[in-house]
């Protein structure tokens, strides 16, 4: 079931919400069990067969977790370490079987010169998310950080439908206290107002903005995959369109998840904080898919040694963390390239920081530096997205060649009629104007891109707009969003004006749910 579908909005959500608060009047555990059962139903709607897999994964990890906590309490750390290793390996094996077995076998076959194809295995929805969530739980249990072990609450923690399919990746420690808190089970109009507002803004981002610009992405990327070479303008338009598609898709999903959860009185962690406003790649990863980068930092980068083993090892750890982060997104070379590219970006970023410190150079003090840094970061991110979206590495390289102007500097030929003397001057300088279709219908594409650039760079994000109501949990080390921080001081309050705006956006968004449209992150 998708958040942006009528069955979800009209049937599932009202029934679950109503059932939850009605049962909560009797017994909180019953309400929590109801929510967990509804979440399992939500998951099973897609493929009932995989409900068993999900439940088996929850059952095993719960047993492992309880055992790890007991071992930790008894001071048997060595035994706990072995058990943790076994449990993590079991989780990763499950993930590898469903997600990576085909990839490894195919590539092994290529190396061996013999096709080694596995029968196609349907990837269970959200497997990457519920596996990572539970690995974090196991590590926390081993460290003695996980405190509560109610089976119903644990089951709800993993299956909780607002986050089950595409995150945010939750920490046991930030959710279990909320499930155990009596006030969670009382109807609070403030939560309903904030939750509905967040959900409708997210729905608008998804169905209007992300799905709206999506139509400009496919043709060029598909053509590149089929072997045709996009020109400079086509390639950049498609890359930018995808940059905004994935942004509004994922940001919309995150808003919807946080809003849905808030309806039930549960606050989820912040997952998105205007990433295209980042002024460096390090900053970007503090703003994009925050719960994943937090997971990678806490459970992978730190486990590899972090920055404790010297500069060279630190850079290697950074690179490996991002490489594996890329691979987490999908079993394909394009995702590996994307991760590797971000790993290299991070190495450069940290290297540049070290150099500046060594030279006592403060680039931020230079006029226009912030805008320049934001632009450079944005371009780096756009280039990396090309790998993320392309059907294969070859197609990505074809797109990048197009973006570099290697398939014709300017396109199409009809620009000459716009630029007349200037166009002729460019030709004299050696510029190429290949014959191709003119801008039939392209004006709308350019308008979309410009509007969305303005939205991403100048508008406050949803968390900033609702900052007064603390819509999301902020982890230590990430930006603490406070009211009045953004340049445009749009602060949501339950007023008639905001009601009109949100209702307008919401109605338009609901009416735009006419196509079956999945969230991009459902595939990971």
């Amino acid at each position: 079931m998708l958040f942006n579908s009528y069955p979800f909005i009209v049937l599932f959500l009202p029934a679950t919400l109503l059932g939850f608060f009605l049962l909560a009047k009797g017994a909180h555990r019953l309400a929590a069990a109801w929510l967990a059962a509804a979440s399992i139903f939500f998951y099973g709607w897609w493929n009932p067969a995989y409900v068993l897999l999900l439940l088996a994964s929850i059952g095993l990890n719960y047993v492992f977790g309880v055992r790890l906590a007991r071992l930790h309490a008894a001071g048997r750390d060595e035994h706990a370490g072995r058990l943790l290793a076994m449990a993590v390996v079991a989780n990763l094996l499950l993930l590898c079987y469903y997600k990576y077995a085909g990839f490894f076998l195919t590539n092994l076959g290529i190396l061996a010169g013999t096709p080694l194809d596995l029968a196609v295995i349907a990837l269970p929805l959200g497997i990457s998310f519920f596996t990572f969530t539970q690995i974090a739980f196991l590590v926390d249990a081993r460290r003695g950080k996980a405190k509560e072990y109610s089976l119903i609450h644990y089951c709800l923690f993993v299956t909780y439908f607002p986050h089950l399919i595409a995150g945010p990746i939750l920490h046991h420690g930030e959710m279990m206290p909320q499930f155990g808190n009596n006030s969670t089970y009382r109807v609070k109009w403030r939560n309903l107002a904030v939750g509905l507002t967040l959900f409708l803004i997210g729905l608008y981002k998804k169905t209007v903005l992300a799905d709206g610009i999506a139509e400009f992405v496919g043709p060029t990327f598909n053509a590149a995959a089929a072997g045709s070479a996009p020109t400079l303008l086509d390639a950049w338009c498609a890359a930018l369109a995808y940059t905004f598609q994935i942004y509004f898709d994922f940001s919309g999903y995150s808003d919807m998840a946080i809003g849905l959860s808030r309806l039930f009185g549960i606050v989820l962690p912040l997952n998105f904080d205007s990433p295209y406003k980042a002024t460096s790649i390090v900053d970007f990863w503090r703003r994009w898919h925050i719960t994943l980068s937090r997971f990678l930092r806490d459970y992978l980068y730190f486990s590899l040694g972090g920055n404790r083993k010297g500069t060279a090892r630190r850079y290697l750890n950074l690179f490996l963390t991002m490489l594996l982060g890329g691979f987490w997104h999908g079993a394909g070379w394009t995702f590996i390239c994307w991760g590797a590219l971000h790993g290299i970006y991070l190495m450069f970023n940290h290297g540049w920081g070290s150099l500046c410190r060594a030279l006592r150079f403060e680039p931020k003090s230079l006029p226009g530096w912030t805008a320049f840094a934001r632009l450079i970061t944005f371009i780096a991110v756009v280039v990396a997205w090309v790998f993320f979206r392309a059907a294969n590495v070859d197609a990505a390289l074809v797109m990048l060649k197009g973006m570099a102007g290697m398939n014709g500097l300017l396109s199409p030929e009809c620009l000459l009629t716009y630029w007349s003397a200037f166009g002729n001057w460019l030709i004299d300088q050696g510029a190429d104007f290949p014959e191709s279709n003119c801008f039939d219908g392209d004006a709308i594409k350019f308008t979309w891109i410009w509007v969305l650039i303005v939205v991403c760079w100048t508008f406050p994000n949803t968390q900033e707009i609702l900052a007064t109501y603390r819509p999301a949990l902020v982890s230590p080390g990430y930006r603490n969003i406070m009211p009045g921080q953004s340049a445009l001081n749009w602060m949501w309050n339950p007023t008639l004006g905001w009601l009109t705006v949100i209702a307008g956006l919401g109605i338009y968004a609901v009416l735009s749910i006419s196509e079956f449209s999945e969230f991009i992150y459902f595939r990971f």
Binding site: L192, A193, L196, L416, W498, V510, L511, S512, S514
Partner: protein, 399 residues
């Protein structure tokens, strides 16, 4: 405003939306699917039907239990009269024109399979088909309609508002699926405009070096036995389905304007045209027998007044028989249907391999006689080519 009032007001705005908008869309019915309320000046004219006809036409064939269906590209949608007395067996058969603009062979093949699977179908007129079998994975949902799209989508609401607003405009579709295309467009004021319109459709007919006064080469017609491989599997499948279900299948080779026939001849394409016709006739006979009345192939090659309307005739667009070289109006289609479903054989012939040589010879004689009497054909052909070349050139540099 308290959070409680805000939440309740927000819900109060949404709940009616889920009922009022579908109700409005159902009543106005911009896609002509529900057909419960039709009031002149309110919703009778459906200006947005064209944009969504692929969404509803196949579902309408199912819903209306159509018994006689026309299927093809826009040529069939514009020109084949769905209410023709012969086609509907004197009005006894419920008929519908399922043709779609820009439909190509693969799409028509899938729609034909869908049509032949309808329990109500008794007669199918099929034009614009190809012989290959192509996968229909894209067309798996034919006959189904997405009620969400029809009732609760932004597009449906937009179409409803436009329908209410544009009731004064000309009705371009009929309830039974026919389209008037450009016939009532106000942009055709004189013969020059008509020439431009002919030329637009003629760009695809241009060839490198047309040979004036080229003679038809009978020896180049391929009369070999058609293969039984994938290249003919689609047509064979359609014929077999029709035979199995006892449905009358009329395969139509659409009439063309004489200027197009002349261009095809001068470009050396007529031999391929007749070879294809021979192959189709052979397949029909192989699958349905030599004298089948259930599956027939009809051809409308000819040089008659009916398909030799001059561009410079000084006739206004609505009164013309041809909108361009391929789109004929229902007046032409009526005469074609008179031949197929009646006894008036002034235009068109049933094609069999046995009569093939006779049809060819008769057609060639007719052509020669016509051209002797009508020297305007070559003049208009030259002008048409020049105009088409000019349009092609302009298209490359126009923003």
């Amino acid at each position: 405003m308290s959070p409680k009032r805000y939440t309740l007001a927000l819900l109060a705005l949404f709940l009616p939306m889920l009922t009022v908008i579908p109700a409005i869309n159902w009543v106005v019915d911009p896609f002509w699917y529900f057909r419960n309320i039709e009031v002149r000046g309110f919703n009778l004219v459906k200006p947005r039907f064209r944009s969504y006809e692929r969404l509803v036409k196949s579902a309408l064939v199912s819903k209306l239990h159509s018994e006689a269906v026309i299927l093809g590209s826009s040529f069939a949608e514009v020109g084949l009269p769905v209410t023709h007395a012969g086609f509907t067996s004197g009005g006894r058969l419920k008929s519908y024109n399922l043709s779609l603009p820009r439909a190509q062979g693969p799409e028509i093949y899938c729609y034909a399979q869908f049509s032949l699977a309808q329990p109500s179908l008794k007669r199918l007129v099929l034009g614009g088909f190809s012989m290959e079998a192509t996968p229909c994975t894209k067309y798996q949902n034919l006959g189904e309609v997405d009620y969400i799209k029809l009732l609760l989508s932004k597009n449906a609401l937009g179409a409803t508002l436009e329908t209410l607003r544009r009731q004064e405009s000309k009705q371009l579709f009929t309830a039974d699926g026919m389209w008037s295309y450009q016939r009532y467009s106000e942009s055709f004021r004189n013969d020059g405009d008509i020439m431009d319109n002919f030329a637009t459709g003629f760009i695809g007919q241009l060839c490198q070096s047309p040979q004036r006064n080229r003679e038809f080469d009978y020896g180049l017609i391929d009369r070999s036995k058609p293969p039984t491989d994938a290249s003919t599997a689609g047509l064979r499948n359609i014929i077999r389905l029709a035979l199995q279900k006892n449905i009358q299948l009329i395969l139509i080779d659409f009439p063309k304007h004489v200027l197009h026939y002349e261009q095809d001849l001068e470009c050396g394409r007529m031999e391929a045209y007749w070879s294809r016709l021979w192959r189709i006739a052979s397949i029909v006979e192989e699958e349905a027998g030599p004298d089948s009345r259930q599956v027939e192939l009809w051809n409308f090659y000819g040089y008659r007044d009916l398909n030799a309307e001059r561009i410079h005739a000084g006739i206004a667009m609505p009164e013309r028989l041809w909108q361009d070289g391929g789109h004929f109006n229902p007046e032409v289609g009526k005469v074609a249907f008179d031949a197929i479903f009646g006894s008036d054989r002034t235009f068109g012939r049933k094609v069999t391999t046995r009569d093939f040589d006779h049809i060819l010879a008769e057609g060639e004689n007719e052509r020669r006689a016509f051209l002797i009497k009508n020297s305007w054909v070559q003049q208009e052909l030259d002008e048409l080519r020049q105009t088409a070349y000019r349009q092609k050139r302009d298209r490359l540099v126009q923003p």
